[in-house]
Subunit: 835 residues, 2 copies
């Protein structure tokens, strides 16, 4: 069981040392026991002293007896394994000296190099987007051509099962490659990467999330999964890719490639790196959707507590460069140099002015689409036709609907998607944990996707005449008459991006309602099954596709229910497809502001701004009533200590005294090396920040706060053996510089790798120069919201709690704050676990 | 002289008590002397102890002798008269008790009422925009019709001077009304109001800026000045109007109307009010430009250090409602209900897809437009034609250009505009200070504007055929042939909004280059003269108009220089007009991100997003090289202690010790009423925040910090006579509640109005319950950037500096931080003055 928990988490890998039976478990009684040890009392007792550091023995029997039946869900835990990033500069003497030495010109150069880095981020992200796009287009084109020819060959002779097998094999092969590299080489590259980037921008260190290897696996993985015909998009991974590019470039070196270009050394700390990563994420959004402003807003929504004007402009600049680069190279690739009509990976096509009008009475319809979404798919006798195809699946839907219909706000397809995916993920965490199993599941999904698609095309009798200006790249004639093509094939025998575009822009009548209904339902479940597979893939495009399908269906049904002499505009199904796509996507991911702008920029038309906003807001409000957004669900399932925007509303009753961890391990200004090594080596606590106090040795009373020193700093000091005695004996010893810390950043060696001899253990270390002498402090009476605000607004990692004499009494870290959240029954406290 | 300074400042009014010769002056030696008294040493000495509170006598002679010649410019001063807003909640016992009493449901209701307030803000702002638009359209239509008929009557008979007089009189009358109400009733309503709102969002309390009276004067004023034909727009004032609406509604009462609706009482504090004001400003932008996302970004750019996701969504919601309301009512007014094509006051018209293409090689051209802007107006023999009309004015331009041409980056029209306006404002501050003079200047400008317009039309021989689908509302035939109209009249005999639209969309050939050149130059100087008049008016539309004119000129010249067989698109002058408008506006106001989005939303087309961004960035970079943005100039000229995003880059050498004000006036936990009254009555210090310490009475050593109490809180306490003795004697005395503080907010009575008898002076006051027990503190060694970051990120008003024993040693306020700024020669320190 221990391995189960480890395998499925974002950051775990097969080669990590197994910790045996003693390892805290993710599920089962073991976890309950362990978390008890941490909370040391009632499970949801609020306002207790945090006892993370308490060494007291917990009675084994009692803990087993007390709550033996309770199997805590994953989301009730808070993992202790995630470290925080340190966005607060450690303003120690070295840093201040360097800053004071720097001239105004120096700062200007620094500012210019920041702009340069952002330009490079934009260019590289754009190029990666180009690369993905071109490779996917070519490989997918090749695949569809081969299958199309095969199908055409066998349509007459009747051996279509061979075509099916060919299709299944081709898809499975691609997906297997994509899944193998993800599962065996870099599990963190799975999924869209957006939850991970959200966490990173929030201040949580997700191991290996911004490494070069992750980028390579991500890019190859996404190509394989899209070409493999899975219900996935290539847009989400672009955001992750942009972030990796940013983290790489801004550091001016690659530890994977073992190259250090000796540039941008100033940026080698969390604060600066994070700024660039947000620019990279924005550039990724920008390249994915051709939405530079949307990209900026995405970065703001995810990490904006550190917002600042100059930074925003740089982010904007990176976004702009990114979409421009993509546009430029794609225009050359398409032999239309200078034609900037491909600003993003997904292109919604041009919504021309004539068709973009909407009327006041349509707004309630749009809002209904946002709120009730799923209803329309089931109205009328359509459901009978659907039952024919998806009996068992529909049963599930109907049984859920029976429940949902009674809730006052109605159901939302997005919430349903999230709920289903949530349970699926739980199942995956429990049962599908080994890489080979994960690969097998991915291949299975690929095979099923191909089979279902083929079946739908095979049984579909929706033939449409082949127009002059057809949008379909691979029209399948199949059993249709000459000059006609199979309409279902347009939707499923195509890359998802093309299908979306076709649903938006095909003239009225291109799809018949049954086709759309069947497609919606099938694709919904396929996409839901697919998200969370061990492949690199995004959920944006599948969401858009589902929404576009039911939106178009809604439009068609609406037109058929209204008298024929009503205005033609009403009958434009493309408009409803767009609104449906927005509603579905909004219902799944729950971003509002940024998503509105992304959609507006991707459609290239602001006319729909207002309806899209309304729809997204409704989708969010209705969806939030049932379940959180998809990304938040996955973050919660990983037990990440994610800090939300505000402290829970009802948390004013808590003060720093209750929240803080206590007692705190402190160091003296001049501390014995042996003590430091022992504290750092203590794996049971594994603290990262240590208040430095004066006169601790006098007695047992806590000392006055002098500063704060980090584990990473101590490790560098130990590594360079900066001991008082050595400094005295050898006067010409090189003084430690900020550069030494930067060179070690961000992969500081573990304490175990540093050898300290018995003699050296007796030496002393003077921390004065290296500690941050002005850490932020609060008093014990400070309320939780106040502590939270300070912590969040400044991006702190450690906040020292002092008494009225400035003596250290506790330490507040991210997990202390993330523990409290607002549940159904008021304030709840999450359990802490070492998982 | 004292009055000069007072008259022109935003917040000064005629009825304020004159303080005689002792009043510190804005200009002249008096100011130099006074500021010396404050800085107490060398004028630009960095790193000294702040001596604002020092009572030491300055030798009168020395101060006069030391720098007798130095007449400090306004922008080298920092006014002490502006109070700060307090965005940090005073979490005293009363507050915490209330918060803890509140249930989760209570917080939900609160959240819902926040959304309700935002909806109301949006609706009201939209309605105000409707009102302004409809009244302006009708009055201006009436005016132009009267004049047009008059001109037509006299064109043949030859008495056109009568038409001129009629025009001048009509314009002057409107402007006089507008100017009189502003100058005599509410001077704060002058200008666009954007600098004032920027300051408010930054945390500076600008007196009377969000009062109902200001709103009424602003709305009437802007109608008068636009109808009066000044070179102004009605968009800027909308932002101010939205902010006033927000401040009013969110408080649930109006002190002007003496009505208290007893709702939204929870929102009666700076923190909440500010959030709503940013929503109001966004709603204003949204209504003005039909740009809801742009509005949100505007609010973010101006006050985003307090950003948070839920708040942003509410701001977005208010923006959305605002543009929708405007759209809805305008569509009804225009008898096209349901046609949502009027999202804002200014409508750039539809840029259709066919004409919105641009090519790669155009991008450098666009950038040149951003950077060099003004050059094109002077190239070729065009300048000769211009000289004919504007000899003296052009001379000035040429002489400036001779200088500018040598600077490497070239000149920018926006920077020139700002420089000219800067000098003009200095002149106004010195010489045009009395309301009647201000009214006279406004009327003069109105008359000159009318005369110049008339002259330009009269001498113009640019006749264009009257097309079928003419965009001109009031075509003037004048001396043109039948079926033709005067092209110059389209530009000047029209509301500026219509002129902009005409420049964007008129087909190629509608304007001839000479007309555009003359118009650009004339309008440039008129607009520059107009901004800063004592009328309520915005600078957005004039800027756009100037830019559109020279942009179109640039396009026409470009087309004429290129061979005729080149692509037609190049010759589309409307495109260049749009880019020129963006460049000019960007060069003047220097907003980047929000302006890009505003322009994109106003054009209704994202295709131009990238070029607009590039142009705005170039305009900002080039413009910043010369001078700041127009709004920043005006903020500086008012000596407002405005906090920028970051501390100056080279300020790491300063620490809290040097920055703070010291010694600090502290109170004991239980303090004598007499002491409190005396301290509050001391007009020479006029402090607003007082650290509360324990054991101050023991000796002269500073006490340990216990909390922070505000002047406003003390005043409420004194008013209610919350004395220890009274509490003891009458046990049933009503306990003071948070409501008492809220009722007094925001206009706390002055200390002079509170009568405290001699007996009461001997009573004691217990501050424990009312002070904020957990104020943020820093140590003396904290560097300025660190202090700055804390101060700015949390929106503080007072930051207490303590020593290692938690004893109060100083207090950092806004003016202490705003003092330091980065000048040409490194870090500079502004002088403080009581102005």
């Amino acid at each position: 069981m221990a391995n189960i928990a480890k395998k499925v988490s974002w950051s775990s890998r097969g080669d990590e040392p197994a910790q045996g039976e003693g390892t805290p478990l993710l599920n089962g009684t073991g976890a309950a026991r362990y978390s008890r040890q941490f909370s040391g009392g009632k499970l949801f007792h609020i306002g207790r002293l945090s006892t993370v550091d308490l060494e007291e023995e917990i009675d084994e029997e009692e803990s087993v007896v007390s709550r033996p039946k309770e199997i805590p869900h994953n989301e009730k835990l808070l993992s202790l394994k995630y470290e925080s990033l340190d966005y607060d500069n450690s303003e120690n003497q070295l840093f201040l000296e360097e800053e004071r030495r720097m001239s105004q010109m120096g700062f200007k150069c620094l500012e210019m190099s920041r702009w340069l880095v952002c330009a490079l981020i934009g260019i590289l992200t754009g190029l990666i987007a180009c690369f993905i796009d071109i490779v996917v287009e070519n490989l997918a084109g090749l695949k569809y051509q081969v299958i199309q020819q095969n199908i055409e060959r066998f349509t007459e002779t009747g051996g279509l099962s061979i075509s099916l097998i060919l299709w299944v094999l081709l898809n499975s092969a691609f997906v297997m490659v994509g899944s193998v590299i993800v599962a065996f080489f870099e599990p963190i590259a799975a999924g869209s990467g957006i939850p991970q980037i959200k966490c990173y921008l929030n201040g949580v260190k997700i191991p290996r999330v911004v490494r070069l290897k992750t980028l390579v696996v991500k890019v190859c993985g996404v190509i394989c999964s899209v070409v493999g015909g899975l219900a996935v998009g290539k847009e989400g991974p672009m955001i992750h890719s942009g972030a990796v590019v940013a983290a790489g470039i801004s550091q001016g070196r690659s530890t994977s490639l073992k190259r250090d270009f000796k540039i941008f050394e100033y940026f080698r700390r969390d604060t600066e790196k994070r700024d660039f990563v947000s620019a990279g994420a924005a550039a990724g959004v920008s390249a994915a959707f051709g939405a530079p402003v949307g990209g900026v807003l995405f970065s703001l929504e995810e990490g904006a507590s550190f917002w600042n004007q100059m930074l925003t402009w740089r982010i904007f600049f990176a976004s702009m460069i990114s979409t421009f680069t993509l546009n430029f190279f794609m225009s050359i690739y398409h032999n239309k140099p200078g034609d900037f009509s491909n600003p993003g990976l997904i292109n919604f096509g041009r919504f021309d002015s004539d068709s973009t009008e909407y009327y006041l009475y349509e707004i309630p319809l749009f809002i209904i689409m946002g709120a009730f979404g799923e209803r329309e798919s089931y109205c009328g006798n359509l459901s009978l036709a659907l039952l024919h195809f998806n009996g068992p699946v529909l049963f599930l839907v109907f049984s859920r609907r029976a429940h949902v219909s009674f809730t006052p706000a109605g159901g939302l397809l997005g919430a349903l998607f999230n709920v289903l995916n949530y349970w699926l993920t739980i199942l995956r965490i429990r049962y599908i944990h080994r890489p080979c199993l994960q690969v097998m599941e991915a291949v299975l999904v690929a095979a099923v996707t191909a089979t279902v698609s083929f079946t739908m095309i095979y049984f579909s009798d929706d033939c449409q005449p082949l127009g002059e200006d057809q949008l379909e790249e691979y029209p399948l004639q199949l059993f249709c008459a000459d000059g006609e093509y199979n309409s279902m094939a347009t939707a499923v025998f195509n890359t998802p991006e093309r299908s979306v575009r076709s649903l938006f822009h095909s003239p009225a009548g291109s799809y018949n309602p049954v086709t759309l209904g069947i497609f919606t339902i099938t694709y919904f479940f396929l996409a839901c099954w697919t998200y969370g597979l061990t492949v690199s893939a995004g959920v944006f495009i599948p969401s858009l596709l589902i929404g576009a399908a039911w939106g178009r269906l809604f439009g068609i049904l609406l037109a058929s229910f209204t008298p024929h002499n009503s205005i033609q505009t009403l009958a434009d199904p493309g408009k409803y497809a767009l609104i449906g796509a927005a509603a579905q996507l909004g219902g799944i991911v729950r971003m509002t502001l940024s998503l509105t702008v992304i959609m507006v920029e991707a459609t290239g038309n602001v006319t729909y701004g207002l309806p899209i906003m309304l729809v997204l807001m409704t989708a969010k409000i209705v969806g939030d009533y049932f379940v959180e957004g998809l990304y938040d669900i996955h973050i919660k399932l990983q037990s990440v200590p994610f800090l939300h925007w505000d402290a829970p509303a009802t948390s004013h009753s808590l003060t720093a005294r209750e929240v803080m961890s206590s007692p705190v391990t402190c160091f003296n200004l001049v501390e014995k090396v042996g003590t430091i090594v022992d504290v750092l080596s203590n794996t049971s606590t594994n603290h990262n920040g240590f208040p430095v106090v004066s006169r601790l040795s006098d007695g047992c009373e806590p000392g006055k706060i002098c500063g704060l020193i980090l584990r990473s700093q101590l490790i560098v000091l130990l590594k360079h053996k900066v001991f008082v005695e050595r400094a005295r004996s050898r006067l010409n010893q090189r003084k430690l510089q900020l550069k030494d810390f930067r060179d070690a950043y961000p992969r500081f060696p573990p304490i175990q790798s540093i050898h300290v001899s018995q003699d050296e253990r007796e030496c002393m270390m003077d921390l004065t120069e290296f500690m941050n002498p002005t850490p932020y402090t609060v008093t014990q009476e400070t309320s939780l919201p106040r502590v939270f605000k300070l912590f969040r607004a400044l991006g702190l990692r450690h906040l020292i709690v002092v008494d009225s004499d400035n003596q250290v009494v506790g330490l507040v870290t991210r997990k202390d704050l993330a523990r409290y959240h607002l549940g159904k029954h008021g304030l709840e406290e999450l359990q802490l676990a070492q998982t």
